[in-house]
Symmetry: C2
Subunit: 398 residues, 2 copies
């Protein structure tokens, strides 16, 4: 039996394929500090479960395909705080940010079309695109430049007649970069000039440190009809398991088209929407305290990395990720070695090798992503272990 | 801004596009009996919400991409009762049967490939296929034959070198047909001869009346590697809003490919899975009583339809749908007329016009689907109203 070319060409999750090594390490009795995944340890606001527990309808019925009106209203109110103004038919509730991305790609690109993405990027951008025969064309960003965008000219050179959109996360997963106002406006300008959509994955919007200014594509005048904002409750409210995302877009015609895809899958789970309505009402203090916590962690990881000789890492300013260039032959081999052959008093560390975050072959081989989703003490221990590992790794370069 | 051809070519849900007429009728104070949608009125077993209310983890984390092991085990146990034996890597949990269908189509068909579907069919089969550039090729089934399959020869004539699978629901939505053992084995044989997959949507498996024997594709020897069984808790446990579905397939290589799609969207909601674990343990008595209820309703609708002169309707034996051929010029016009211009003591009926369930242009124009998801009394009233409507409709034929 043959499978489709599009599915066989999809790469396996580069993060998940190392899971068996972690399992084996644990089976040997090793403690593994997981710096490889984006699952925060912050508690989900309790009002989520409280709302769900209060649900008392006898029949768990389909909800509306576009999403529950109450949730759409909650999201409209949320965006208002950022001076973004959406009407109810300009919001669609999706199964996580994932479905929002998939539906956006299907709606704007046909088989063979291209979407331009700064690399390194969230690997599932490539996965969703491949699944529906859309090619990811990359704009290479470099560790040396803190993963900021290259020049306008370099980006223009990557645009072809088949390019339909620029897709990016800001703040960035996996890089932790927060694009400057100039960068965001440059992309907006390119979108206008080359008639492209912008799929703006802004799920980390609140995770910005050092008092930095954040520029959303939703605040730029003159490109409203080409900006598709992808959002999710997963990271903002530490509710990854809820799978509630959304698309916000002022292009009502596009939203009508995407609604057809929503109707095809009938609806998003009712209970999770009931809970999410309350999440969007979470008071500002919550973000402040979560933000302070992540900023502290960011500092621990950044200082830890820079205390390791020959590690290259510019200070990340957003999300809860950083990509470091390590003095190793191959970050995947290094990660496997740490799990299989290394420990400090029975403890080791798991990283996410970064090669899989690049579309360009050969890039990122000596880079790894660290997610700072552990508490301060564990993070400090993990960074000390990583330092020793880099020092004693047989495949060490430099 | 241009949208993709695949999205603009997707038809709008033929059922949902009439909703504004129903809303207007209600705004006028009319009572509308909804026979147009498949939302059952049966109560969801209470153990679903009980399990969710007992969930007490502080962080609502991602679950595994393939689904919670407890739920996979529940489903394995469920299938054992039907003498189908799956291992844990032969089950994947999905966002409803909808995602199970979409992922199956992506995994076995490339852009331009074809999937053979008996028509009239569940419209979203066409929607999902169009969204990923797969063509639905149809095998026409007729009201006069109770929507049973045509001859083997007719089906063979529809198979082309691009055909990758046969996809069908059994018991059938929208027809209520239950395929005979001979029909199921004929399709299995064709799948072997022409090297096709079978995407068997068996979500209505328990909804079979008149003591009829039901043949699942999961029980046929020799085609295990080509049978993909799509399942869902929506109808079986009246839990449409839970959006928990699954794929069961003995072809482990295929399941590894589909797992990549599951990893791309990270996971299915955690809480709904916690509840679904319990749903799959629902005692047999539940099905017996639900079945008795639906059989009674089926009888009311069938007798009601056959008391209307010139209506053609063979007795349906499964699911909770029936398609009737009506003596009208156009079932959509008739439905709109009932909502806008007709009532019996302030009450009217809404049907689902069947033309949208056909891929072949022009078929089904005088047919409508009735879902018997109302209680006996309401159904009796609705059928009496329908009878009067057919008698007084200005576009009446015959």
């Amino acid at each position: 039996m043959n499978f489709s070319k599009r599915i066989t060409s999809m790469q396996e999750s580069p993060i998940r394929k190392l899971v068996p090594y972690a399992q084996a390490a644990k089976a040997q009795g090793k403690k593994v500090y997981h710096l490889n995944i984006g699952q925060p340890d912050i508690e989900t606001p309790s009002l989520f479960m409280e709302a769900i527990k209060a649900f008392d309808e006898k029949v768990l019925a389909y909800s509306l395909s576009q999403g529950m009106p109450e949730l759409i209203n909650s999201i409209i109110d949320y965006y208002k705080k950022y001076d973004m103004h959406f009407e109810s038919d300009e919001i669609l509730i999706t199964n996580g940010g994932s479905e929002a991305l998939l539906f956006s790609i299907i709606a704007i690109a046909d088989a063979g079309d291209e979407i331009l993405v700064p690399e390194p990027f969230y690997t599932n951008y490539n996965g969703f695109s491949a699944a529906v025969d859309v090619k990811v064309a990359s704009i290479t960003c470099k560790a040396e430049e803190g993963f900021h965008l290259p020049s306008r000219k370099e980006i223009e050179e990557a645009i072809t007649p088949k390019t339909r959109a620029i897709m990016l996360s800001n703040p960035g997963n996996p890089t932790g970069v927060v694009y400057t106002k100039d960068e965001v406006y440059m992309l907006a300008d390119l979108a206008k000039e080359y008639n492209l959509f912008i799929i703006a994955d802004e799920v980390y919007r609140e995770f910005v440190y050092d008092g930095l200014e954040y520029t959303s594509f939703g605040n730029i005048k003159g490109i409203e009809d080409r900006v598709i904002i992808v959002d999710s409750v997963s990271k903002r409210y530490s509710a990854c398991g809820a799978r509630i995302g959304s698309i916000a877009c002022k292009n009502k015609d596009l939203m009508k088209e995407i609604l057809k895809l929503c109707q095809g899958r009938l609806c998003v789970p009712t209970l999770e929407q009931v809970g999410a309505v309350e999440l969007y009402k979470t008071p500002e203090e919550y973000f402040k305290s979560v933000n302070d916590e992540y900023e502290k962690r960011r500092n621990i990881v950044f200082e830890g990395l820079n205390s390791i000789p020959d590690v290259l890492c510019k200070k990340p300013t957003g999300a809860f990720y950083v990509i470091a260039k390590l003095p190793v032959d191959d970050a995947e081999k290094f990660t496997i070695w740490m799990l299989k052959d290394f420990d400090v008093d029975g403890e080791t560390v798991m990283l996410a090798p970064a090669e899989g975050f690049y579309a360009t072959k050969g890039l990122g081989r000596d880079e790894a992503r660290i997610a700072y989703i552990l508490n301060e003490n564990d993070l400090k221990k993990a960074m000390a272990i990583l330092k020793k590992a880099v020092e004693s790794y047989p495949g060490r370069k430099i």
